[in-house]
Subunit: 327 residues, 2 copies
DNA sequence: CTGTTAGCGCGTTCAT
DNA sequence: ATGAACGCGCTAACAG
């Protein structure tokens, strides 16, 4: 690997000049510019990022933390983040914490030692104190743990309303909710949205809410139990698509027809939702939007560009497909 | 952030000594060792990886390239790789090439500038020449593009035999194959395995082979077309689980009962296979094994430890679940 | 056992 | 417009 010095020698200039042309900074005569370029081509020179990072104390790379890389939602988010960071000349590295706070901290420590420029967190285990102490730009997506960092989420409660309303209008007389993890803000909001509309219904009972932990398998188990105890449930609003698919699977296993006997609506709008049969009706949030927005905000923070609006709550929309009886 | 110099001053020793205790290299008196440790604690000192990398020309990090992060197979592989690299003190960064040779090359260029120590490729777009020129340790998993790098795969052809044999024994009279991408070695092998057993059957025709590109959606389309033209197909061997699930979905959409009317067997053994209904029968390869093995081999190559066996072909086994009529 | 010093490859004043 | 020289933080001889 050629170094900047090799180039400078070949071009008959100083390293400073070479540095100038590489970074397009400061004045440099047209002729010497050509000579330097030629030398670079000749030597197949590529600047060494490690050395560059050391002197600039910046790596032009950010990290995206996701709790579960297995969930398509986060894959799609990652794609979006990567797209914009790349556009701005940044590299993004994906960290799967596997829902483990310990792994998350390890990663953070590790990355800090590597001069990471910023974090996008789709996880929520960090305390405000830790974030402050970190002293590295950060933004939260989807889940947000604390108000001290810019956050991008969707209107979870509104979304839940949309879903439950549709189920109600389309003839459901007893609607259950498979919710996400206790204590997780977005799970609480979606649950609350469900409650807003059904709490005062004559048929309502808290037993209609089961925890599926945002996981397909757990949701399937929860659904089975739910239907055993309340065979007359005819509508399910799941806190995310994965759990909705798990519910669908449980019902199919028991020979219950969807959407004839039971209608299901999920939340997220992941592409897997269109790959099950019947295709899943869902409250779709623009995952791609969220990722792009978060990335843009982070980069602005890194480059110290002023943001007039740090927090965003994106609109959601109801997409009815095969698991509901609509129009 | 404190530097090694700060520590050395506080401890009243030279930076070299501090470096020695950090890296546990060379002799250092017990007393000074204590002093240094105390200083480190006091200053909350953490070595700067960038500086370290610059002088050692090594980052203790490797990259794993996958063609499609959306495919659970690669997620599971990533988990395995990460596990062992971590064990050996390495960090691994996940690169999703999205099946694009261009993105792959960009990543490689980028990482090379960052002193990456090695690559694990689950992709196959690199030519031998490029690999040679790269001059960085590398190992291939799953797909292997060339014989010049150590490779870890499974016995694809044997696996295909297992699947087709089972379908045959369990009463199938006309078996179709949804294959992976043309030109992709593992796809060819699995297809060949299928051919080995059915090529001479009276009912066989090449039209029974359709390309699903290892993609769920494409496979669903392919299956629909296949069944329209050959309604009497009663068995399908898919080149991977995703395509098997796509097939299942297509059949369900047409009201064809699985496994009563049609039996399906996939390939891979991803966990998603257990999450559809009926649960997917499949040729299971030990994805985790593959990942771990590849990582170990790579690390040995990096650390220049001799390997007596560079290439591995792992055993596979047939797992019969809900999409076949067994026993 | 410990300190001095010269790199690692590049960015960046400060002169000229 | 260009060059000399120092600094980024750490490792690795080489002396002692």
């Amino acid at each position: 690997m050629a170094t900047i010095r090799d180039v400078s020698k070949l071009a008959g200039v100083s390293v400073a000049t070479v540095s100038r042309v590489i970074n397009q900074k400061g004045y440099v005569h047209e002729d010497t510019l050509q000579r330097v370029h030629k030398a670079i081509k000749l030597l197949n020179y590529v600047p060494n990022d490690v050395a560059r990072s050391l002197s600039k104390k910046s790596t032009k790379t950010i990290a995206l933390f996701v709790p579960d890389i297995t969930n398509p939602f986060f894959n799609e988010l990652a794609l979006a983040v990567e797209k914009v960071t790349q556009l701005y000349g940044y590299t993004t590295i994906l960290c799967n914490t596997n829902e483990s706070a310990k792994i998350e901290r390890q990663y953070i420590q590790n990355l800090k030692q590597k001069y990471i420029d910023g974090f996008i967190m789709a996880t929520n285990t960090l305390t405000e104190e830790e974030i402050d102490q970190l002293d590295i730009p950060m933004v939260a997506v989807d889940r947000s743990s604390t108000p001290v960092v810019p956050t991008v989420t969707s209107k979870n409660r509104d979304g839940a309303h949309l879903a439950v309303q549709a189920l109600l209008q389309q003839g459901c007389n007893k609607i259950a909710h498979i919710r996400g993890p206790k204590g997780l803000w977005i799970a609480e909001e979606r649950c609350q949205g469900y409650l807003d509309l059904v709490e005062n219904m004559p048929w309502f009972t808290p037993k209609l809410i089961a925890n599926g932990n945002f996981q397909l398998k757990e949701a399937a188990e929860a659904a089975k139990k739910l239907f055993k105890e309340h065979p007359d449930i005819d509508g399910v609003f799941a806190g995310n698509d994965l759990m909705a698919i798990g519910t669908l699977r449980a019902l199919q296993e028991h020979g219950i027809r969807v959407p004839d006997q039971v209608q299901i609506i999920g939340y997220d709008g992941i592409s897997l939702a269109e790959m099950v049969y019947p295709e899943l009706s869902t409250v779709s949030q623009s995952i791609y939007e969220m990722g792009m927005l978060a990335a843009r905000i982070l980069i602005k923070k890194i480059e110290q560009i002023h943001l007039d609006e740090e927090n965003h709550q994106l609109e959601v929309k109801l997409v009815q497909r095969g698991t509901t009886r609509h129009g």
